[in-house]
Symmetry: C2
Subunit: 243 residues, 2 copies
Amino acid sequence: MQENKPELYTSLSPSLLNLYDVEKSIVVIIDVLRATSTIATALYNGAKSIIPVDSVAECIRIGKQIDSITAGERDGKIAEGLAYGNSPFEYPREFIEGKTLVLTTTNGTKLLHMALDKNAKGIITGSFPNLSAVCDYLLEKKQNVILGCAAWKNRVNLEDTLFAGAVIQRIGKHFSINCDSSQIALALYKEAKPDLYKFMKNKEASHYKRLTGFGLEKDIRYCLTEDVANTRVVYENGKLIAG
Amino acid sequence: MQENKPELYTSLSPSLLNLYDVEKSIVVIIDVLRATSTIATALYNGAKSIIPVDSVAECIRIGKQIDSITAGERDGKIAEGLAYGNSPFEYPREFIEGKTLVLTTTNGTKLLHMALDKNAKGIITGSFPNLSAVCDYLLEKKQNVILGCAAWKNRVNLEDTLFAGAVIQRIGKHFSINCDSSQIALALYKEAKPDLYKFMKNKEASHYKRLTGFGLEKDIRYCLTEDVANTRVVYENGKLIAG
């Protein structure tokens, strides 16, 4: 029986993605602080779609072509030429409903484009705010899965690894897992689960430090909260939509 | 004061090594099952030196040039043309003392050559059997450190990550650690520490499964035992020697 289960792998960094069989898998793009959390939130609050782009210039270019909101930060500030930032709190329903968001992120978008170039069977994004939706989607599809951590400039990070662990704890038994990275992510999540925020703080996670340097504790707490924006996020034809 | 501490990073896979400043660091090559454990054991038992090579052909070639013992396995068996295997139990003092061992390993040697090509400040090898010697060496040198996991064909593995965690638990406070991979390794080691063997078994670590498939539980238990071959292993002029 076990042989019939689909396989699940965790890629802890974009630099490791090529070790896995992307073409035969659904890839979950994980960029917990804050890209994929903000994406889930905007779609949960009724955004029509989100176009992820990898540069500020591209963001501005598309913003001029279509009726949309351009957003993105560099070094903790709204990037010059863009209108909004990366915080999920900037996208409440009364603002974002029915609108298209063009969002520039670095690590997450890069990984998404890698998965696209390698012809992934499907691409979705994952974050704690939409954890259950991600798990339900993967259970329903019954395909091989790669949990793809966006990391930070290819360096493995705690928060994306923790999210991979959270998915594995919930639905791992439905998959065949012959992957030490997945075991590591699961063990880490189990330790952190009682209080993810405290865990990040105590570990002095590198990104935690970067963001708290900008006074964004509230964002971090939100981005570590499960199911507060519980919508599916599917990549289709260049856009992320509530699937 | 903290600023004066040397930095410590963990590279969880050879694919990630280029993210760190190898040139300014001592790189610890970690290939717990079984290369670096066997290397420590042979040197502890009096081997004159060990020449690590990355192919069976190279191993045979050097074996013909110098008075030495050629060793290496492929798929769990002594490779054709070589005399001995990868098990630490093949290298007791009465056999190996005063001799030169030419050892072919894949993951560990590849990483070592990468560190060499990038002009690492120093290269040593680490394993549970020589954990204390590794820690003492690093404390003494007061240089930046990269704990380099050899992994398995670039895929992150449990055992090398656990060893990185063990080093960090022992001497981490003497270093500045702004590295989530190190935090992950440390958290994992703390969880596993009460019984590393049981932890590996319960997690169904991929390499654990590969090796137990060959009936090598005894080797694994040994390779997870701290300080049973507690010698420094330093790479100098193409050879690993008891430093």
